[in-house]
């Protein structure tokens, strides 16, 4: 009897320890495969790219030559690199601004009460879910020299000569910015709509009683109260825009004459057009540095704003 109770006591004591160890093992077993896969498909290529940046390597003739930092120093003096960097900045700022302003307008519209609001809210997401390749073909058709945009402009008498918008050095970047903003604005609209709906109606009612009309309510209440959400939208969009490859490639392949060539496209062309893997890696790594900086700003500023504008 006494023996039995001692046994059960010792079992009781050992149960939590055993359980704890079991849990730890379970964590490793559960996380192991995922960690391994991520290491293989994410970490390894990054490390490989990093390493590649220190070599001159040609995939065709399979030679490796260690050159230290000269790939990077080449870039710093390469006008094409800075031109692509600048294009990336223009594209990022342009498409982010257009998508955010348009998204905000749509969000405010969708917050108003009117018939058919439900279906319209669902429809707004359409540009976001259409595959890039489809978007690219639709807009290439619209913007082409004999596309409906030129037909329309000719019809209303705004222009006499057709312009191949994506093929003209002067307009290509603008066209690419507009198209890419079109695919992104639903994200902005839906995020901002959620933020708008988060603001209690009472605050607007109080402001209306305090003598603020719709315009002043927008600038004194809506805009400041949306600041955290706006910041999230802008920074996420900026990060995605700066490393955007697919849409620009599908629309212009970086042309005409490099007018829309951004860093990811430059990296691609270096790697798979000129087979200069070392150069391409250096471009990729510098791109990664810029994007990481943007992401750092995103997390820092985002956290601060969320704290400052806590509406609870």
């Amino acid at each position: 009897m006494a023996n039995q109770s001692a046994k059960s006591a010792s079992r009781n004591r050992s149960v939590p320890r055993l359980k704890f160890r079991d849990e730890r093992i379970f964590y490793y077993v559960a996380l192991g495969p995922t960690t391994l896969v991520i290491a293989l498909v994410v970490a390894l290529p990054i490390i490989y790219t990093f390493g590649l940046g220190f070599f001159i390597q040609n995939t065709l003739i399979r030679t490796w030559r260690f050159v230290g930092l000269s790939n990077y120093s080449d870039l710093l003096t390469d006008a094409d690199f800075w031109f692509a960097f600048w294009n990336g900045v223009v594209f990022t700022v342009g498409s982010t601004a257009v998508a955010t302003v348009f998204g905000l307008a749509i969000a405010i519209l969708l917050d108003c009460k009117f018939r058919g609001r439900g279906p319209l809210r669902a429809l707004v997401i359409f540009p976001y879910i259409v595959p890039s390749i489809v978007v690219a073909f639709i807009w290439k058709f619209i913007f082409s020299g004999r596309g409906i945009l030129n037909d329309f402009l000719g019809f209303i008498g705004a222009q006499t000569v057709s312009v191949p918008w994506l093929g003209d050095q002067r307009y290509a970047m603008m066209a690419v910015i507009l198209i890419s903003a079109w695919t992104w604005f639903p994200f902005a609209a839906i995020t901002l709509l959620a933020a708008i709906q988060n603001v209690p109606d009472n605050i607007y009612e109080a402001a209306a009683l305090d003598g603020a009309g719709p315009v002043r309510r927008f600038f004194h209440l809506t805009l400041p109260l949306l600041a955290p959400a706006l910041m999230v939208v802008v920074l996420i969009r900026a990060i995605w825009a700066f490393r955007n490859y697919d849409m620009i490639w599908l629309l212009t392949e970086g042309g005409p004459i490099g007018a829309t060539e951004v860093l990811p496209i430059m990296a691609y062309k270096e790697a798979f057009g000129l087979f200069r893997m070392g150069h391409a890696s250096a471009v990729s790594v510098s791109l990664m540095v810029f994007v990481t900086l943007l992401a750092a700003v995103h997390f820092r500023v985002g956290a601060r704003l969320r704290k400052a504008y806590d509406t609870s």
Binding site: D210, H220, P224, Y309
Partner: protein
């Protein structure tokens, strides 16, 4: 200071009428409470004064001017919301200055007014804080400060105390009342708490299902409820209501409950009973504090206004200050309230003594007061 008049005002939400032919007048400078169960339309009524709800028919006048078509900002009313509705991204000072900025007042005048309001409400030390750093009671005060700085014609309060804990609520009750005495402004206060309405207001309007049931001073409502609803709504514990008829046998008036033996009523004690016709179904209402136990209340005299009934104690609640006894009588459950302590337990048999001179008679069909 301004008078507010409702002239047969109504509102429908879809097919449901929320307010029907509401008609009342708030004299300038008066403190009025709008009270009723949830969903009775009291908040809607307040929001209609503010211009936040559309008026479907009828007219609202503020200071003699119809305001139906005026925007909220042009009505010169200030409102304190239940959740305070402070601007979260502005400091306490900015919250109070906002309305003055919108009105394009000079900086000096705005600051003077803001400081004045801060002084009245004891907010001087909190001016550079944000609402999220304030406690419920402080937010409440800022919301009132935002109303005060404007010096509006009418103050509207939409259940401003319901988010506060019990102790703070009592404190803010006194503070709002003091504020009214100090400013002398017209104030309309919505609440579902009858204690708030009774203690704060000079005039109480009771609403039910979009209709006004009674308008009067707190004591008028308490002493002479116009109908069964008001009788049951005002007062805690609620008034006892017994169904039955009044019969006259050999010159003696009796209350004949639905079950149980008739209770004789002393002559002249219950004027309402004389208005009934024999056999008419009535409700006899008597407040818990108007029922006593023999020996504990005033002793019977000539023409005593009392009637006695035997009861069995069901439940005893002691608050410390007084004792509530719930007992079952043949005519139904009766609650009484005794000042002080009384030693009794469930199952005891007691005599309850009803003070008929303080009782009420209502028509059981219409619920209206008789006499």
């Amino acid at each position: 200071m301004a008078q507010v008049v409702f002239s047969s005002v109504g509102k429908d939400f879809g097919r449901d009428a929320v307010l029907r032919d509401v008609e009342f007048e708030v004299p300038a400078g008066r403190f009025v409470a709008l009270i009723g169960p949830s969903g009775c339309g009291k908040s809607t009524l307040l929001r209609m004064i503010a211009g936040l709800e559309h008026i479907d028919y009828g007219e609202i006048y503020i200071d003699g001017n119809a305001v139906n078509d005026l925007a909220p900002k042009d009505r010169d009313v200030a409102m304190v919301f239940q959740n305070y509705a402070l601007y979260p991204h502005m400091t306490v000072a900015e919250n109070m200055l906002f309305t003055l900025r919108m009105a394009r007042r000079t900086r000096a005048e705005s600051n003077d007014r803001m400081w004045e309001a801060a002084r009245i409400l004891g907010l001087e030390d909190l001016l550079d804080r944000y609402p999220r750093h304030l406690s419920g009671g402080q937010r409440q005060r800022v919301a009132m400060g935002r109303a005060i700085v404007r010096n509006p014609k009418v103050f509207l309060f939409d259940e401003p105390l319901s988010n506060l804990d019990a102790k703070l609520r009592v404190q803010m009750r006194a503070e709002i009342k003091r504020l009214h005495q100090r400013l002398g402004a017209t104030m309309i206060f919505v609440t579902h708490d009858q204690v708030e309405a009774m203690t704060m207001a000079e005039q109480v309007i009771i609403l039910r299902e979009g209709r006004i049931e009674q308008v009067g001073t707190p004591l008028e409502l308490y002493d002479r409820p116009a109908n069964v609803f008001v009788a049951g709504f005002i007062g805690s514990p609620a008034m006892n209501l017994m169904g039955g008829t009044f019969e006259r046998a050999r010159g003696q008036l009796c209350f004949n409950p639905q079950s149980g033996s008739p209770i004789p009523i002393p002559p002249g004690a219950l004027p309402g009973a004389d208005k009934t016709i024999p056999g008419q179904k009535c409700l006899l209402g008597i407040r818990p504090e108007h029922i006593t136990l023999p020996g504990s209340g005033p002793d019977s005299e000539d023409g005593e206004p009392f009637g006695e009934i035997p009861v069995d104690v069901v439940l005893v609640e002691v608050t410390g200050l007084d004792t509530h006894i719930v007992a079952s009588a043949p005519s139904g459950e009766i609650t009484i309230l005794i000042r002080g302590r009384f030693d009794t337990v469930a199952g005891d048999r007691l005599q309850f003594r009803l003070n008929f001179s303080l009782a009420h008679v209502f028509d059981a069909e219409t619920g209206e007061r008789m006499g």
